[in-house]
Symmetry: C2
Subunit: 452 residues, 2 copies
Amino acid sequence: MTKIPYKIFLSENEVPRNWYNLKAVMKEKPSPMLHPGTLKPCKKEDLAPIFCEAVIEQELNEKDKYIEIPEGIMDFYRMIRPSPLIRAYNLEKALKTPAKIYYKFEGTNTSGSHKLNSAAAQVYYAKEQGITTLTTETGAGQWGTALSMACAYYDIDLIVYMVKVSMNQKPYRKTVMETYGSKVIASPSNTTEIGRKILEENPETGGSLGCAISEALEIAMSTDNCRYVLGSVLDHVILHQTIIGEETKTACEKYGIEPDIMIGCVGGGSNFAGLIAPFMGDKIEGKNNIHFIGVEPASCPTLTRGRYAYDFGDTGKITPLLKMYTLGSGFMPSPDHAGGLRYHGMNPILAKLYHDGYFEARSVEQTKVFEAAKEFMRHEGILPAPESSHAVRVAMDEAKKCCETGEEKTIIFGLSGTGYFDLSAYSSYNAGTMTDYIPTDEDLEKGFATLP
Amino acid sequence: MTKIPYKIFLSENEVPRNWYNLKAVMKEKPSPMLHPGTLKPCKKEDLAPIFCEAVIEQELNEKDKYIEIPEGIMDFYRMIRPSPLIRAYNLEKALKTPAKIYYKFEGTNTSGSHKLNSAAAQVYYAKEQGITTLTTETGAGQWGTALSMACAYYDIDLIVYMVKVSMNQKPYRKTVMETYGSKVIASPSNTTEIGRKILEENPETGGSLGCAISEALEIAMSTDNCRYVLGSVLDHVILHQTIIGEETKTACEKYGIEPDIMIGCVGGGSNFAGLIAPFMGDKIEGKNNIHFIGVEPASCPTLTRGRYAYDFGDTGKITPLLKMYTLGSGFMPSPDHAGGLRYHGMNPILAKLYHDGYFEARSVEQTKVFEAAKEFMRHEGILPAPESSHAVRVAMDEAKKCCETGEEKTIIFGLSGTGYFDLSAYSSYNAGTMTDYIPTDEDLEKGFATLP
């Protein structure tokens, strides 16, 4: 057998040219997105004022297993991809585990995370449609950064509504976006009706993702040639992220790697679903029996303690309704550091698969997550994002189990990004001031009470 | 001819196993390092209390053209290397240039720069010698971060003296180093005699690199099993950085790329010398006629306006004397943002080669540098470090010349790192508050007056 190198980089002609549409393979399809007014399944025309046509078609596509990536997007992917599949030889040695550990690392691009895979696609389609301005919201800033890069490349204007409290905490995220030419506005702002209303009621508010979404949507719907783009949760975003899994699968086939366990962190679900998609498709088709594990923070336990129900995607309750696992759009997660995982809902494809028993969900406490991150970085030389570190934690736990059982399991996990911009979290962990927070049943009930 | 991919990644068995020792090829050798007391050439035993034995041998080696990289260092290099050689197809298109532009990108590792190449080597040799603690200084923090990563991996203690004003400006750099387990001390400090003396004289001082070096040296020389490590300027550091050039040369040979121009930024010289070493060696041996350009900030014009003379490496005048281009160890550069290029001296190998006419030096103003960086990042999707952007500026200038002449020149430049941790500089450029500073002849005379 070929010796497995530390890092597997596919060559340019090995790089996959298709996204993988899980819905085409699923025997039972996820329940459709509902119009918030009529409560009937959304049609193309319902979504057209908000999203670009091409992504709406992708959102609703349940037929085509493979969707070809346009050459104009491949041009961008060639800059930022392929990402390496890394054999964690050093970590294995440190853990003294018989397990073989691999991770697919999406943090080598300037945006520092996997978000660029969908940003590039969405901006390309907008440009093709003649859209001149895009709007979006950002919390921690990873999505806004990725989208700013893509908008600079495709030469299209971008307005980012950034949660005010995040902007104050991470001023450099704003700088990166502005350096790429984006207009960054602290939300709530005076630029929208909803923003003005919120500011009138509560001038001192630090804002919220829900409010930022509402502002970005308002501008998109009231401006000519303007559309809104979202960085996770929706099915077309998942589709774009499947380039991660497609590359991983190609690399596995090239080197004869057969995963027993695949692990990813889950917030909205795009990183985890993107990684596992083609493997999950094979599992559905009876071609493998991989054990998939989605890892979420104990502080925001959407899958492990949430309800499978229709809910809004935003706090403002203006988005279409999605059938998903949810804690209720009014659920208030604690100020956990893994900002990207603090979402009340879950992508509908993943939600359906979880409901049907295709994967395990596991929740972990954040101090345990940072403990794992610090061990990982010593041996593997990469500073992982807090979000990604949730997957690191469980991968290490599974590898340690192999120490006991002696099983030589093959584990692949997604390392979705770096922690460059989240050093305040590491700082608080180093200082011993980080605490864990697990919502009580009462806390959850308050969230569920906001379900429609 | 093979089509050149966007990114050339060497496979693991193509990765070079040797460093390239330029001194072995040079017809006239650089003048020797002098003992500051006796003014005679330094011997091994003079340097042994400060540096590890293996690196001292490398520092003084003028015979061996290739020096094999030990397997224990290759283990580390496999984690962080190979770095990609990227064809700037998108930038070429944007500039409408007939030139072919390539860049060797050293910023994909967690430390964000090329510094890790020497950090790994120096820490490995220290560990082999039974050293238990290392000391160093850091200004902007790139070197301290790289060294912290290497010390965590090889399990050896590290004390970093960080210039106090830098620590206040970049608290997250400190966080990264601490997360890797290093002890970071603001300099000047109460932990050394020299620190206490300086604090007594000037309790409010923000510190300086010169002072931090002195403190790190004092601890190294007064502590058992402790040595000092340096991140640039010295010949052994250059040697370790030649892995950049060795990889670049292998990639060029594989794809039939023949550079006409090679460009790098120069501070202490390690990134530029590392990139060009094997190509320069060939030039010395009459095998090519590449035009090499070292780019420095107009605010710290060591090569373009400095003197070729013996000088101290530090402001405190306690290091051995090096024959180099220098502005005088007392030269005070302006508070320029490209921290890594604000050094009064230059590596002696590069200095000698420059003196003998083997390469061109060019100085550029920082606003022009950031202008180029912003154009580059739009098209290539990478946020470059301010230091590296000096090379970007000149590469773009040379490519634009080709637009006029129609020449299809092949340009390779070194992109030594990312700007993740230097966003305050971009912020000031975006706000239009960045200014240029060019020292007057009088300013330079003040520096030259501090020459020994």
